[in-house]
């Protein structure tokens, strides 16, 4: 706790010092700040270092456009700004929990109370005893423009507090047009307020003569350029810096959070949260965890980004839960699923997802479907032919290798034999060796080619079968499926009404997942599903004979009855036909899967396995790269919620 020892009040780093009242906390951000942290504690009970940290956390200043500030002020003044929710257009631009506070600029307690008499936040500011005018401390904004906008907002708010005159909106309007960050009118307004402050005997305050003359002694030297000259700051500011700021704390909140911590994995974030309270707050911020949660959800195919926002955005914004907590819950759910359902829940299902989406696209353009099927058939044959070509190529290579190998072997043997020939001298020996090599080469080539061809052909047969049979069968199945679908929808299309059935895709989903999970039962599963669908369609066709005319008559009378009868007859004919096609489709796909399953389902290279994720694997190689962060190990998840204190069940395989 530092007392300046001077009678004159001074302001620095959110700290108001005077000899009469000791060191106190300025109600820091004049315009926007997060929910208070220590409501129950007296400011004077806090040590200076903690005050500084609190101030850092609570600032949370972010860039705001003039229009945003303008709207916020308007909202604040009409609603008194107490814990109000920003309108939709401002979400994301401002902290959710914020209050608009006009900083009292008087040391006179009564006058201070009078200024805030009409404000709901009176109880908050009155006990803070926060006289002073922290001009320089406008916000922790991201850039100079925003800082100045914040400052302008502050000035306007102060002006309103002093005079009750809402000149700010017109003032903003001018600024919006001019795009000048320090317009002449702003300076004039500043000067008026400064004079007012001086006249009231407040803190020492001078308006800078230069627009770039910043707050050089600011302990939070972000790019908030200054609004005041150096003479505004107390002489002990430098001392304050030296005494209370260690080297690391000069990295202020937004840099630490948005540039440093955002590159860390969940595991490292949890580790950082254990370092000190300041880092604990920084590492727990939603802006860091929402990315990890999105990645986790996408990895597990639980929710995509938009779905996540739609489902939990509101409750997170309302402060009921945090993204960090949701991450923990999601991760634990993933672990539970892994224990209960096995590894298949963690397979990379992207290809399956694409197929399902393709199937669910609901496109009934027969021509396009036929083309797609024909393309599939062509592609299948092409792949099959390519496999054959590969086989021949390999066989040719083997033949060559066989030739060389055979020639070498037989030539060596012939040379040895030639060396042992007792007659004929060197010429005969060489001739014998060459002849042996030729004979050996031919023999080796023949043997090698036969063996290579047989081997490679045998190797390529399954691929050929897969390419030439399974893939066309898949395509045929697709054609049958889409044709069945189109026929199934024909009555509805014909009579101008969309179908209300969608069970066929439940079949697709179920059967596809089954295909992934249990390859050996693919055929049975397909056939079973096809027969079920056939039964469902036949049943639907016949029940439609009663249902459609009845509903039509109820809705539109005789005309509806006629239309419903037409639909019923058409449906009675089409639905069984569609069902039979589904059976054919199921048969074709079942056969195709049976053929293809052993060959076409390699282990996914990018398969996600929680236990294999290295705990120290870092999230992103570059700060703005799009790589998604890895997930922490199971043990690391325990640190997700320090305050909960619950024991989280750990997996045996969890990494330490």
């Amino acid at each position: 706790m530092v007392a300046s020892g001077r009678q004159k009040s001074s302001i620095h780093a959110g700290r108001f010092s005077d000899s009469a009242h000791g060191t106190r906390m300025i109600l820091d951000n004049p315009l926007l700040f997060y929910t208070r942290i220590d409501d129950d504690r007296e400011w004077k009970d806090l040590d200076v270092n903690r005050i500084f940290r609190l101030q850092c956390f609570r600032h949370g200043g972010i860039g705001r456009s003039v229009k945003t500030v303008q709207r916020l002020l308007e909202i604040a003044r009409t609603n008194q700004g107490y814990n109000l929710n920003p309108p939709l257009g401002l979400r994301g631009a401002v902290p959710w929990k914020f209050r608009v506070v006009t900083v009292p600029i008087t040391q006179d307690k009564e006058e201070e109370l009078r200024i805030f008499a009409s404000m709901k936040q009176l109880s908050d500011v009155s006990h803070a005893h926060c006289p002073g005018l922290p001009f320089w401390q406008v916000a922790g904004s991201n850039n100079l423009l925003h800082a100045r906008n914040d400052f302008i907002s502050l000035v306007a708010d102060l002006n309103y507090s002093l005079t009750g005159d809402r000149i700010s909106l017109a003032f903003y309007g001018d600024l919006e047009v001019e795009k000048a960050e320090f317009s002449r009118s702003v300076k004039e307004l500043l000067r008026v307020i400064a004079d007012e402050v001086k006249a009231r005997g407040l803190v020492h305050c001078e308006i800078s003569q230069s627009q770039q003359n910043g707050c050089s002694l600011s302990p939070n030297p972000s790019r908030l350029s200054g609004l005041d000259g150096q003479q505004f700051f107390p002489l002990d500011a430098e001392e304050y810096n030296v005494q209370y700021l260690n080297a690391f704390s000069v990295l202020w909140t937004d840099v630490m959070q948005l540039v440093v911590f955002i590159t860390l994995s969940p595991k490292l974030l949890l580790r950082c949260a254990q370092v000190c309270k300041a880092w604990s707050v920084l590492a727990s911020h939603d802006v860091l965890w929402i990315g990890h949660l999105n990645h986790l959800n996408q990895s597990l195919r639980i929710l995509d980004k938009n779905q996540l926002q739609a489902s939990v955005g509101k409750i997170v914004a309302d402060g009921l839960v945090t993204y960090k907590y949701l991450y923990k819950v999601t991760f634990l759910e993933a672990l539970r699923r892994k224990r209960e359902e096995g590894d298949h829940s963690f397979k990379d299902l992207s290809s399956l997802e694409r197929r399902l989406r393709l199937s669910e696209a609901g496109d009934h353009d027969m021509r396009r479907l036929m083309l797609r099927g024909l393309y599939g058939i062509t592609n299948g044959f092409r792949n099959g032919l390519k496999d054959i070509e590969d086989g021949i190529t390999f066989a040719g290579r083997d033949m060559r290798m066989g030739t060389i190998g055979g020639a070498l072997t037989v030539g060596t043997m012939a040379a040895k034999v030639g060396n042992k020939v007792p007659i004929g001298g060197q010429v005969a020996k060489r001739a014998c060796a060459v002849g042996g090599a030729v004979i050996g080469g031919l023999t080796g080539a023949l043997g090698g080619s036969i063996a290579g061809t047989i081997h490679k052909s045998a190797w390529q047969v399954p691929r050929f079968v897969s390419g030439c049979v399974a893939k066309p069968l898949h395509s045929l199945a697709d054609i049958l499926e889409e044709t069945a679908h189109a026929i199934n929808h024909a009555p509805e299309d014909m009579f101008g009404e969309l179908s209300d059935q969608n069970q066929s895709y439940a079949f697709t989903n179920g059967s596809e997942v089954g295909w992934m999970q249990d390859k050996n039962a693919a055929f049975v599963r397909e056939l079973d599903s096809g027969l079920k669908l056939f039964y469902a369609h036949v049943q639907k066709g016949f029940t439609g004979l009663y249902k459609h005319p009845h509903h039509g008559a109820q809705a539109e009378g005789i005309a509806g009855f006629a239309t419903g009868s037409g639909r019923a007859v058409a449906g009675c004919l089409c639905s069984p036909l569609a069902g039979s096609l589904f059976v054919g489709r199921a048969l074709a796909r079942g056969v195709a899967l049976t053929l293809e399953a052993p060959l076409a389902l390699p282990e996914a290279a990018d398969e996600l396995d929680f236990d294999e994720v290295h705990p120290d694997q870092e999230a992103r190689t570059s700060l703005h790269a799009s790589e998604e962060p890895p997930m922490p190990d199971a043990a690391g998840m325990d640190a997700l919620d320090v305050s909960v204190g619950k024991k989280i069940k750990k997996l045996p395989a969890a990494a330490g």
């Binding site: 270092n49 050089s216 030297p221 810096n241 580790r271 320090v642």
Partner: protein
């Protein structure tokens, strides 16, 4: 001083003046904004932030010049990365001050580069204690809070614990 690329005079926090080409200076969004505000390239641009000392500004300018050269010559990423890596290798004090200056001057690439260095240093630390030691951070947990943390996160203090 050419007409096309006039020199800008920057006044550092410790009252030194540095002349650099405008094309280099305007790589800082803040300096660019200041120049546009005044409209006079002959006016001295004061850098009021405490981090913008002569030593740090020389480093910042070195970075800006080098990257301008890379841009002009179309240097390979490998060369750029090598320079960046070498540029990162500084003492903590200089790194922090450079981050502050980069943030003040709004030089995004430099800010990210130096912050990446900090992040890398954090990644090297295997425990919270390592991080505290590395960055000289005071542990502000009360004894009760430490006990609570120990109960919640035993593996942090006991490497054998799972």
């Amino acid at each position: 001083m050419s007409e096309a690329d006039p020199e800008i005079t920057l006044e550092t926090y410790d009252k030194h003046q540095i002349k650099i080409p405008k094309s280099i200076a305007t790589r800082s969004a803040i300096i660019n904004m200041m120049i546009e505000d005044t409209g006079d390239v002959n006016e001295v641009v004061p850098l009021a932030d405490k981090s913008c000392t002569l030593n740090i500004m020389n480093r910042v300018i070195e970075y800006l010049k080098k990257h301008a050269e890379f841009d002009n010559t179309g240097a390979d990423d490998e060369v750029i990365n090598e320079f960046d890596k070498e540029f990162q290798e500084q003492s903590d004090e200089i790194i922090f001050q450079t981050i502050l200056a980069a943030n003040f001057l709004d030089i995004k690439n430099l800010l990210e580069l130096m912050c990446k260095k900090v992040a890398d240093e954090i990644k090297k630390c295997k425990t919270p204690d390592d991080i505290r030691d590395r960055f000289n951070i005071r542990k502000d947990y009360t004894p009760e809070e430490v006990e609570e943390v120990k109960r919640a996160h035993p593996w942090i203090y006991d490497k054998n614990a799972k």
